[in-house]
């Protein structure tokens, strides 16, 4: 009878532990889902930022080209102006 009570008690404790573990699994599952969602958002954000960065870099390259061209034109005009002044 004592052994049976012991088994019953052990079973009760196990059921409690299973319930707690089930709660933990649910919580971990929810946390996992949130992390998945956050990962998706961040991945998208990273992709957008990379695209933006590429676009801006491309624009910057163009600007550099323009600057270089303008600097050359300025140099030419300056030389031309000095020649005429002479």
């Amino acid at each position: 009878m004592g052994e049976l009570s012991g088994l019953g008690l052990e079973l009760k404790e196990m059921i409690g532990l299973i319930g707690r573990q089930q709660d933990l699994i649910s919580s971990l599952g929810e946390k996992g889902a949130l992390l998945d969602e956050r990962k998706e958002t961040l991945s998208k954000e990273v992709e957008d930022l990379r695209n933006n960065l590429n676009a801006v870099s491309s624009e910057l390259t163009k600007a550099n080209d323009i600057i270089q061209k303008l600097q050359e034109e300025g140099s030419q005009l300056s030389r031309k102006l000095k020649t005429q002044v002479k």
Binding site: M1, E3, L4, L7, G8, E10, L11, M14, I15, L17, I18, Q21, Q22, L24, I25, L28, G29, K31, G32, L35, D36, R38, K39, L42, S43, E45, V46, L49, R50, N52, L53, V56, S57, E59, L60, A63, N64, I66, I67, L70, Q71, E73, G74, L77, S78, K80, L81, Q84, V85
Partner: protein, 274 residues
């Protein structure tokens, strides 16, 4: 534990009961044997008494016959004496009668010896009978005691049997209860095994989820860092882009001023030349 103790007590009581029954059976058998021997001795004694009575009758008859023949002999002798010599035939007859008388006397002596022998045997038999009767009296006393004891034991046996029946019923009831409890215990053990396996699976799942969570956390941190880095780079590039635009504007302004200056000088030179 109590049931086991009760079974031990019952077994011990059964063994004692069997030993007592065996002793009673042995006593009864001994008493029966003694009674049979006494009956046999009584039969023998009766036969000896009858033989003695027959022998006494026969002795009496012989004594009477002897007395008759002696009186006859006396009478015949007297007759012979009276007849002064008597006839030869009478003498022969007397001789025959004397022979017969001698034989009868011998027979009588033998029978007396037999009677003495029989009386001796009778005495021995009577002594044996008295001894046996004493033994029978003692055995009867023992038998009465045994019967009293037997009644007590029978009563005790009945009480023990009743107690045994009760204990047996109690034992069977407890056996059934034990079987039922064993079944329940088996069910609980199965359930415990199932739950233990479920707990192990859950713990494995928890470990996997924890590991996956840690990986995802690490990946998130990495993505966060990457986002920050990209944002910083974008800010830098935007800043550079602003500077480049500023330079372009300045260069364009310089260009315009120089062009204007150049145009003015060209016009001025044109006026001078004209």
């Amino acid at each position: 534990m109590t049931l086991c103790l009760q079974e031990n007590i019952l077994s011990s009581q059964d063994a004692q009961l069997k030993a007592k029954e065996e002793r009673l059976t042995q006593t009864s058998a001994a008493l029966n044997g003694a009674s049979e021997r006494v009956a046999k001795l009584e039969g023998e004694l009766e036969a000896v008494k009858q033989g003695r009575e027959e022998m006494a009758v026969r002795i009496h008859e012989l004594e009477e016959s002897l007395a008759t023949k002696e009186s006859m002999i006396t009478y015949l002798s007297k007759q012979v004496i009276d007849s002064e010599g008597g006839s030869k035939q009478m003498i022969q007859e007397i001789a025959l009668l004397r022979d017969g008388n001698s034989k009868l006397e011998a027979e009588l002596v033998g029978m007396k010896c037999d009677q003495e022998d029989l009386e001796g045997r009778l005495k021995v038999a009577e002594d044996a009978l008295a001894s046996k009767e004493t033994a029978i009296t003692q055995l009867n006393k023992k038998l009465e005691e045994s019967e009293g004891l037997s009644k007590l034991m029978s009563h005790e046996i009945q009480v023990l049997r009743k107690n045994n029946t009760k204990l047996d019923a109690d034992y069977h009831e407890k056996q059934r209860a034990l079987g039922s409890l064993a079944g329940k215990a088996g069910g609980l053990e199965t359930e415990l095994r199932d739950k233990t396996a479920l707990i192990a699976r859950q713990q494995e799942l928890i470990a996997n989820l924890g590991e996956k969570g840690a990986q995802m956390e690490s990946r998130k941190e990495s993505l966060d860092r990457e986002v920050d880095d990209l944002k910083m780079r974008l800010r830098d590039v935007n800043s550079e882009f602003g500077k480049a635009n500023e330079i372009i504007r300045k260069l364009q302004e310089d260009g315009r001023q120089m062009t204007h200056k150049l145009k003015c000088q060209v016009r001025h030179l044109g006026v001078d030349n004209s």
